[in-house]
Point group: C2
Chain length 245, copies 2
């Protein structure tokens, strides 16, 4: 059981079905599954919700609907509210990255809720009063207000990353040992001489330039095998050159 | 001039106007402004684009349109491509958080492009061949594929955070000095005795419990002023109690 299973996303007074669907997809992308809607707009476009949820339709289908925010968070030990405004209690808001470890730790013991306000007005003072934590997503002063599904994405992304659930892609091939790299440079040296790219007099200098190019980043064994093959084939082509006049 | 001004978002073969609009809003939220569309779908719904761009309509209006990806990135020293698939060169993909400092550093000297593929198929092999860097956004194995605007949001968010442009909200009131906090506890002690919440015999013990409650987190001077006021008013109320029989 991951702590992410105990973190619920609460959308208060959502208006657009498309946003609710986008939230479902973002949640599934980031390993969350519990969605609660508080008093959603009557006549919400559920077709749009389905469409934007894409392969996260199950989160949409299993959403809980409550009349009040208090009901949605009643069993939660920790209730975090998102807001991009300052003033009052909101001045001790922290970023999602700062809060993530605290939320994950709490979620081991208790349900945790993160509240997101309506598209029009954000969270009301009554909603914010229910919060024990305030989240301020970093954003430009030129345009602070994020789309609600984007706000959910960033908060859940930070939780997912902090949870350690993601294993970064790994280069399967090891960094090439020097001896193999040297064999490759030696083969290139011969091939470049044979095709007349350089002369024995200029070879040392040119090879330093070529070594520099291939030292800008790590070379794996696979990389070196590719380069070796190119040199071998170059030598093959050189062997078919017409004899010098 | 911020390095963010030199980082362009390139959407290759975008299909939905709503996504293009969402990308504009995400970009403006995170301080970016240059959008390039490569060969967008004919008949794209630009009304939806406008609607989702919200207050970022200017980025949408000033978008550049190119026929090919090569044209869109021709002047860029660094070209990063996003992909959630593994295999081949993509195995040395890094996360947006890992790449952000490198991209920002490069953007001081050269235009930088980040490529995002179409909603259907992501980036093609031809597009990926143009990339010098590969980005893999952390996501759950259960559903790896992010909506394209969400992918843009996470990449630009990481760039914005790494740029240091965001100043976190700060508690304006200082942490309260011990003497002021002690004066507040003393006032509460008198008030709680006067309203009969505790007796002189239990007071020391009760006050330890109350001190513990108020030591769970930092108390600012403002907090202590509020608590002082409550104690003072409690004493005032106590002074109007009917005399004991």
């Amino acid at each position: 059981m991951s702590p992410l299973d105990h973190i619920r996303i609460v959308m208060v007074n959502p208006v657009y079905g498309g946003n609710v669907g986008s939230v479902c997809r973002a949640m599934m992308n980031m390993g969350l599954s519990q969605l609660v809607l508080v008093n959603p707009r009557t006549g919400m476009n559920m077709e749009e919700a389905q469409q934007m949820a894409c392969h996260a339709g199950e989160i949409l289908a299993r959403r809980r609907v409550c009349d009040t925010t208090a009901e949605a968070v009643a069993d939660c030990g920790l209730v975090a509210g998102t807001s991009n405004r300052g003033g009052l209690y909101r001045d001790h808001a922290k970023t999602p990255r700062e809060w993530a470890p605290r939320l994950l730790a709490a979620a081991l013991d208790t349900p945790v809720a993160i509240l997101f306000g309506s598209e029009d007005n954000g969270l009301s003072l009554d909603d914010l009063a229910l919060c024990t934590q305030f989240i301020r997503i970093p954003s430009s002063d030129a345009y602070k207000s994020l789309n609600v599904a984007m706000a959910v994405m960033i908060c859940t992304y930070e939780l997912f990353v902090a949870s350690g659930a993601f294993e970064p892609p790994q280069e399967r091939s090891l960094e090439c040992p020097a001896a193999m790299r040297e064999a490759m440079f030696a083969k290139w040296r011969r091939a470049l001489l044979e095709i007349g790219f350089m002369t024995p007099e200029t070879a040392d200098h040119m090879m330093l330039g070529i070594r520099r190019i291939f030292s800008r980043g790590p070379l794996t064994e696979k990389d070196v095998q590719i380069l070796l093959g190119m040199a071998a084939q170059t030598q093959w082509a050189a062997s078919h050159l017409p004899p010098k006049p």
